[in-house]
Symmetry: C2
Subunit: 196 residues, 2 copies
DNA sequence: CGATTCTTTGAAAACAGTCAATCTGTGTGG
DNA sequence: CCACACAGATTGACTGTTTTCAAAGAATCG
């Protein structure tokens, strides 16, 4: 599992072997079964998570019990509850495995040590958060200005590896439309031979 | 104008006078008239902007010519096109003054120098971007899971100083609903004596 | 195989968008 | 000071989209 992470982080550039060893040395490895929770709403998020294998979802439960999915985290991506982790306040989100998964965990303290000790890691993290912010603004733009059809198309082209890996009703939940509506949108695409 | 910024940034803590001087010394002051553009779509964003007085909007023009507002920047906040500024690629957004305004501008190069030279400024910026990311995720959650009514209420409570300072149709554009719909939502509130 | 999860479909109701007209308030020029 | 233009807000009627509810069909898991 560590090899996957090592390959990923090496590809980001700027690390020597000693630094890679140090980063890996404080990671905890964990296997998750499908439907297993990594973070429960109300808990304080203790870890930043790297997904080496599998797929996780980050979601929030509404008052009526339905859930809205904030994001998916497939292999070679990070996830966490950013707000809960950095401020050490109770989380409003849940993180759950959608497939059997393998993840690496870093505590916030270890992470901060690494950020202080390894400039390249700090630079990588800064770059990462910057990209996350840009992506986040882009998603807001999609949310407020696209039609439901366009949102679906955008999802498909943004996440070609995800759109038929996660259940349709979860894509609907991610986009903020009902599963029935998304099903009909997809059907109308099929009839127009715009099969995706 | 610099005094306003100085007061703001001092309140963030961690700066000595020399550092404050240095930060201020590379800022360009600029006055903006209502409706004046600071950034035009297609241009490469050259500056990070601090609003000392007035109000700016950051928006994107859709294919049909209507605009969707990504965010507002009142006094004592920052704005820029983050993606365009950091990657030096053409901007997809416009930034325009909604009121006569006074702003301070930093070029990306000067900014990077300051970040390297002044750890407290780097720490502040990191904190800032972290908060922006959290806020951004929160807005996504609102977008995908709230009704239009709830979105309006959320806007009012999130920006009590803005909701009757900007025209209603711009609030609508920010929320992603039509101005007529937002007008009706607000009217139904009045009739229910939930006057805001 | 049975149980569960996921997807689709139909019909009705709720909701939001569009278009067009009117109303309001503000500021400008005569 | 008034008349006018202009930007913004509201309203009604209509249309189109989306949700909701209910049921049934398909796929998948254990």
């Amino acid at each position: 599992m560590l090899e996957i992470f090592r390959a990923y982080i090496s590809a980001q550039g700027g690390f020597n072997n000693e630094e890679l060893d140090r980063i890996c040395s404080v990671a905890t490895q964990r296997k998750l079964r499908r439907k297993q929770l990594v973070l429960l709403e109300g808990e304080i998020c203790r870890h930043k998570i790297f997904v080496a294998q599998g797929l996780l979802k980050n979601y929030r439960v509404r008052d009526d019990g339905t859930e809205s999915i904030l994001r998916f985290a497939p292999e070679n991506t990070w996830t966490t509850d950013h707000e809960s982790l950095t401020k050490q306040i109770p989380s409003r989100n849940n993180i759950e495995a959608l497939e059997d998964s393998q993840v690496l965990l870093w505590t916030i303290d270890d992470l901060n040590d690494l950020l202080d000790a390894i400039p390249a890691f700090k630079a990588y993290t800064d770059r990462f958060i910057t990209n996350a912010l840009d992506a986040s603004y882009q998603r807001i733009h999609v949310n407020i200005s696209y039609t439901s059809e366009e949102k679906y198309d955008d999802f498909v082209s943004s996440f070609p590896d995800l759109f038929n890996r996660v259940p349709l009703h979860m894509v609907a939940s991610y986009l903020g439309v009902s599963r029935e509506t998304l099903s009909r949108i997809r059907q109308s695409r099929v009839k127009q031979n715009k099969i995706v």
